[in-house]
Subunit: 203 residues, 2 copies
């Protein structure tokens, strides 16, 4: 039996763990199931992660980190604050459609833990993914494209603006708009609001 | 054994069914469990609802109708479009905090059904709750308080704007803002946007 302590071995365990937790739920999967799926001994998994609980939280942590990096990359394009936020919003919308099931299934099992414990294991569970939006909003304020606002509250609202129509799309059989049109509406509302005095001219 | 075919009997069955489905999940509850909790025979439940599946969807339908009515009432106050939407947003935010667990638990079991079947049983599952927001937005357009927009897309975005910070609040141990301050920010963003040219003056 190969003793894997390399990064690739660790990564392989996380991938199998994510697959099994998503398919069977936290309670439906044992360390032994994951070890067998990786062709490793239980001892190797305990060596890397200590417990099933830690492994589960590590799966979530990796997933959140990957989504955050993806959003950060989307905001790194050249352009105005509005163009960058639009690109991030499109990316986030596609991320939700692609990963919604995985994330929902993983988060479903979070309900098994006390929330204090969850926040101890994942203190930035709620703030990490919106943080690249906050950073670009902050730059927009500095450049005068965005009015002075608390970016760490607006980023959460913006995530809700994007995710609500995407969740609606995912469950509606017939649609009259495209995903890009939905995102365009969100960015238009974000910058101009619904009031009549707002200028709706884009840059 | 009392034969109940009155509205109050039907209502009592729905209440017990909601309580049991929420506590034990769709699979964890039988018609017999619900009948026993109501002190009724299985036959009476079948008479009213035909099957466990129908009863479950009726529980969801009643819940959605109650939330929609609550939102509609909140929008029936005297005031500007902005004041009415603000009042609806506060009401919706409180509804989410109060009923989130129940709704989440009930919706969790929806995953057991094919989505086609869900939409056949509850065709307006996604459109009913936002509909009072759309109605008030429509009146705002008519009165010139809101620019011309597709209210049946903006209502969904607005629900996301409200629910995201509320969901964040519900899971965050220390908060620096009140629920009303969060709703005020949402209404400010909704009417004025984040752009520098927006007027942020309220009516």
């Amino acid at each position: 039996m190969p003793e894997e302590s390399t990064a690739s071995g660790r990564q392989r365990i996380l991938e199998q763990a994510q697959r099994l937790f998503t398919a069977h739920g936290y309670d439906g999967v044992s360390i032994r199931d994951i070890a067998q799926a990786c062709g490793l001994s239980n001892a190797v998994l305990y060596y890397h992660f200590g417990s099933k609980r830690n492994l589960y939280f590590e799966v979530l942590r990796e997933h959140i980190a990957a989504l955050t990096l993806c959003l950060q990359d989307a905001g790194a394009i050249e352009g105005t604050c509005r163009e960058r936020l639009a690109h991030m919003a499109r990316t986030y919308a596609r991320m939700i459609l692609e990963y919604e099931d995985t994330v929902q299934l993983l988060l479903r099992d979070l309900a098994q833990f006390e929330w204090d414990e969850v926040l101890q294991m994942l203190p930035d569970l709620q703030t990490l993914i919106p943080s690249p939006l906050a950073a670009v909003l902050e730059e927009g304020i500095a450049s005068g494209e965005v009015r002075a606002l608390d970016v760490h509250r607006v980023d959460i609202v913006l995530m809700g603006m994007i995710s609500a129509p995407v969740a609606f799309r995912a469950r509606q059989p017939s649609l009259t708009t495209t995903l890009d049109e939905d995102v365009d509406l969100v960015i238009d509302l974000l910058f101009s609001g619904i009031g009549p005095s707002s200028t709706t001219a884009n840059e």
